[in-house]
């Protein structure tokens, strides 16, 4: 344990490092190749799109308060509403939001000065605003109204120009995603500090690596599908038109070959966040570190073999069986993660910080999404609930109960590192309570209306389901309201929050072994990682953490910066 004496490199020998300056807010509006600036740019723009997509969700639930068409002028207007809700939430919120945390945290966790390709990194981000404008411009022509899945021929022969803009925008976002992912893969594989083998890498890096591999392999298929769709729409080809020898199932196959793995693009980084937050805030090593890391890779691999379960009602019957089996198998690596996380907090000393509450909320909600996932894999039962509110409920348990809860956990966890100030814990707890119960009562009843016979994507429905939909609607408004609490908390804490210090959570990963916020070069000197990123509870770890505190005692955020 010779490293205890000088645990974090030469920084320890430079006492009284300069007070840290926060980047001016205007720097976030400009082109920058600093991964920390880009991370915040991703984060703020994604969160704005979260609010836009959330407002659309509120309009959807408002319309569904009654069985008749009332808020919307037509069924088509409603269709464009949920089409945009899905598109904005997936392509403009969740995926870029993980790029935000990946960008800010991964190079710091690796002790690196920046990403491998800083210019490419900035370029990937700056593709998003124009892409968003192109997608949303559909509202000035005929908006896309074929759902985010855009099945032809509804999206080809029966849709207006907004569908073309939608496809172009999605294309640009796909390019952004591929470039960002290549950058992550190269960074993680090549820029680890000496002593950090793959097996000593923080689990967020494992998750981002797995995610990036999926994105690089799957997104080109989306690009191919979108290209064919655009050609069918504007160049008169008939890839998806049966009268010209095309096939509508071609789209479904290629689209889902991307879009099912895309679910893992949206949830795997959240699983990485969970491993970090649960371990740090219960002061205990991640249980079964290797299996948690490997299961990310397992999910990434098996995730490529399950796409046709989205086509159980259109696929040839004899082809449905193999996809049922692969879909069930993917529950196994997911189960390994769930049990390992429980093993992590079991016997620990849990601190109920806001980050920890959202991480625990993820555990208790995501498990429901996992259970309904296995139910949906069971082919005979899926035939009944396919394309119903049961499915809507299932994927919101995965993407909201999973991804969004993890995003909130990550926000409360890394906000001190990004801004140098702590978030308000009281408002964090209030936010959690509203989000948790708003979410549960919005999405759990959807299982039931779906099983009883309510299909998804309808503006008018059987009056027998009115009361269920009113319960869902009111809960959804509570859930929508809860996002304003966190907006207030972020703004308030940015200006008035208590100064965080370098390592407020006493975490062992390297992003905490520098000032908050970190200097432009991240570290004054190359940091030396602790032998195990989650090795809490040993004297060596305590000594390392004490040394970090000592080093940065005087290097915190200058209190006069605001």
């Amino acid at each position: 344990m010779a490293t205890i004496a000088v645990p974090i490199g030469a920084q320890a020998e430079q006492p009284g490092a300069e007070a840290v300056r926060r980047p001016a807010l205007s720097e976030y509006l400009r082109w920058s190749v600093d991964h920390k600036i880009i991370g915040v740019q991703y984060g703020i723009s994604s969160f704005l799109f979260f609010l836009v997509g959330g407002a659309m969700a509120m309009a959807i639930r408002w319309e569904l308060l009654t069985p008749a068409l009332d808020l919307m002028v037509s069924g088509s207007a409603y269709n464009s509403l949920f089409t945009m809700h899905g598109t904005v939430m997936i392509f403009l919120f969740i995926i870029p939001m993980w790029a935000a945390f990946g960008n800010f945290v991964v190079p710091l966790q690796l002790g690196a000065k920046d990403m491998a390709f800083p210019w490419l990194n900035a370029f990937a981000f700056w593709l998003i605003p124009p892409a968003a404008i192109v997608v949303l411009m559909g509202y000035f022509v005929t908006p896309a109204e074929a759902g985010w899945t855009s099945y032809p021929p509804l999206s080809t022969l029966f849709s207006g120009d907004g569908q073309t803009l939608w496809a172009l925008g999605a294309h640009l976002l796909g390019i952004s995603s591929i470039m960002g992912s290549i950058n992550f893969i190269v960074t993680i594989l090549n820029m680890r500090p000496e002593g950090m083998t793959l097996w000593r890498m923080p689990l967020l890096c494992w998750a981002v690596l797995a995610t990036s591999i999926i994105a690089v392999m799957a997104t080109p298929f989306l690009a191919g599908a979108l290209t064919l769709l655009l050609l069918d729409r504007v160049a008169g080809t008939t890839f998806f038109d049966a009268t010209g020898g095309g096939d509508v199932l071609l789209w479904q196959n290629i689209f889902w070959f991307y879009s099912h793995p895309a679910v893992y693009i949206m949830v795997l980084p959240g699983m990485g966040v969970l491993s970090e937050v649960l371990s740090i805030h219960s002061r205990k090593p991640v249980f079964g570190y290797r299996m948690v890391g490997l299961s990310s890779m397992g999910i990434a691999f098996v995730g490529f073999t399950v796409w046709a379960h989205h086509m159980f009602t259109s696929l040839q019957p004899e082809l449905r069986i193999p996809f049922m089996i692969t879909t069930m198998i993917i529950a196994v690596p997911t189960g390994i993660k769930m049990f390992s996380w429980l093993g992590t907090i079991w016997g620990g000393k849990i601190r109920f910080t806001s980050a920890m509450l959202f991480a625990l909320g993820f555990l208790s909600m995501f498990v429901i999404g996992g259970i309904t996932g296995v139910m949906l894999a069971a082919l005979p039962f899926d035939i009944h609930v396919h394309d119903t509110y049961f499915v809507v409920s299932h994927f919101h348990f995965v993407l909201f109960g999973g991804s969004v809860f993890a995003i909130y956990a990550a926000l409360y966890h890394w906000f001190p590192k990004v801004t140098g100030r702590m978030m308000n814990e009281r408002w964090g707890r209030i936010h959690f309570v509203f989000t948790y119960f708003g979410f549960l009562f919005t999405f759990f009843p959807m299982h039931i209306v779906g099983m009883l016979g309510m299909p998804r994507r309808v503006a008018v429905y059987d009056p027998a389901f009115t009361q269920w939909n009113q319960l869902i609607g009111i809960s959804a408004f509570v859930l929508g309201f809860s996002s304003f609490i966190v907006v207030y908390n972020v703004i308030h804490s940015y200006f008035r929050g208590p100064v965080a210090g370098a390592n407020p959570w006493r975490a062992l990963t390297l992003e905490w072994a520098t000032t908050s916020p970190p200097p432009v070069t991240n570290f004054i000197d190359d940091p030396i990682p602790y032998e195990n990123p989650y090795g809490y509870g040993t004297e060596a770890a305590t000594a390392y953490l004490d040394a970090v505190d000592e080093t940065f005692r005087h290097g915190g955020l200058a209190s006069s910066s605001h």
Binding site: D241, G288, I329, K349, S364, V367, I383, G453
Partner: protein
């Protein structure tokens, strides 16, 4: 210094009590969950629905075990393993337990294999070919379903011939008529986009896929067998829903499965009266048109109060005869109406964007319409108004003239009855 490394939490009497309480709660909870299974599912109106629900029952039990295991451990953790106030120390350095990790890999793998085998068996049982399908009056017939934006059309190829030697086809619109014990096999075709035919009470669903009409489309099949539901009065009606987004009117693309108690009720109340009506159509083109217009999917987009239609995707047909002469300059009311139906692409009423489906002699299935049917439907539409633009005095000449001018076709305004065949007259007299 590694005093607490690799030390597993020990088992105390308190833990045993907690585990016992947890087990008890789980058993009661799972039992409570399963009591909801019949409540959250529609009635079991088909043989298939029973095996699907049994599978769901197993899924709820296994899902319940997982749910209580995870939530229970979570709850125990947050209650018993919270840091005492002021305790800044770390937890035990416990990195894992290979045996435990193997256990929680192998057991879930075993469970999903079990579920896959179980699902496979239910699937094979439900999709097993039946000895006879669509048996009506001792004959197997074909029942076709056509999906078009935004209505279902069911047609029965009866196999019986009318006086002209043509097969009698019953069009029952958005209703599928069947009886308990009949093995139903539907052949589904779409006229436009993808639809999905879902009967929640039967637990069956199948997409309709666009194919090449020149090669007969791309038919898909759906099979189920209605069974008796306790406390149900027959004939019973169960909703049909479109489950795949198909456009503006997706939500109201619905229908009904009408189940009769047995075959004799089915024949008496639906099948024979329908055939009789086909063999004895009214000679009056307006009455005939009123029947015909309801066999097409017009109601899926248009409003027409006299027939209680209320869809608003397309323009209203209320009082259409008062406006038909003014819509397109140079077209008489009759010409406008016949062209709006057969040549619907040519003109779109201002304020509407969606293209109306095509009807005519070249169309297939539910959209096929011959000149005589067009004549009768136009005659009916000409009665929808007060100061009608149509020449109602001379409808027997004005409408055929409009069809002749527009499409160059002659119309048999007697609907083939002028041939005066003995059979036709007799049948008519019987009525």
């Amino acid at each position: 210094m590694n005093d607490n490394r690799n030390r597993s939490p020990s088992i105390s009497p308190g833990a045993v009590v907690v585990a016992a309480i947890f087990l008890l709660v789980s058993v009661i909870g799972i039992n409570w969950f399963t009591s909801f299974v019949p409540v959250v599912l529609p009635p079991q109106a088909s043989a298939e629905s029973k095996s699907v629900d049994d599978l769901f029952y197993v899924l709820v039990i296994i899902g319940g075990i997982v749910f209580f295991l995870i939530q229970g451990m979570l709850l125990i953790s947050v209650i018993f393993f919270r840091a005492k106030s002021g305790d800044q120390s770390d937890g035990p350095t416990y990195h894992g337990n290979p045996l435990l990790e193997i256990v929680w890999t192998i057991i879930p793998a075993g469970v999903v294999v079990f579920l896959a085998v179980l699902s496979f068996n239910v699937w094979m049982q439900n999709t097993e070919p039946k000895a006879t399908v669509n048996m009506i009056d001792g004959n197997e017939i074909k029942i076709n379903v056509s999906g078009a934006r935004y209505a279902w059309t069911h047609t029965y190829q009866t196999g019986r011939l009318d006086d002209n030697g043509e097969q009698i086809v019953i069009n029952s619109g958005d209703k599928l008529h069947t009886y308990i014990g009949q093995n139903i096999e539907l052949e589904l075709r779409t006229q436009d986009v993808i639809h999905s035919y879902w009967v929640p009470a039967m637990r069956v669903k199948q997409d309709l896929l666009p194919g090449n009409p020149a090669t007969g489309g791309r038919p898909t099949e759906l099979r189920f067998t209605p069974v008796r539901v306790e406390d149900e009065t027959y004939p019973a009606a169960y909703p049909i829903v479109c489950a795949e987004l198909c456009g503006d009117g997706h939500g109201r693309m619905t229908g009904e499965v009408i189940v009769y108690a047995d075959e004799s009720h089915f024949l008496e109340q639906f099948y024979e009266p329908a055939i009789y009506a086909i063999l004895n159509p009214p000679a009056d083109p307006v009455l005939r048109g009123e029947i015909l217009i309801q066999e097409y999917i017009c109601n899926s987009c248009h409003t027409l109060d006299s027939l209680e239609w209320s869809s608003r995707t397309g323009p209203s047909l209320n009082g259409i005869a008062d406006r038909a002469g003014e819509r397109v300059p140079g077209q008489s009311a009759e010409e406008y109406l016949v062209q709006s139906i057969w040549n619907s692409q040519a003109f779109t009423v201002p304020g509407y964007t969606e293209q109306m489906a095509a009807f005519g002699p070249d169309q297939t299935d539910a959209n096929a319409m011959n000149a005589e049917q067009l004549y009768a439907i136009t005659a009916y539409l000409c009665t929808q108004g007060e100061q009608t633009d149509c020449d109602t005095e001379n409808q027997t000449t004005a409408i055929p003239a409009a069809i002749k001018t527009s499409f160059g076709l002659d119309v048999d305004i007697t609907f083939g009855q002028s041939a005066g065949e003995a059979g036709t007259t007799e049948t008519a007299d019987e009525g």
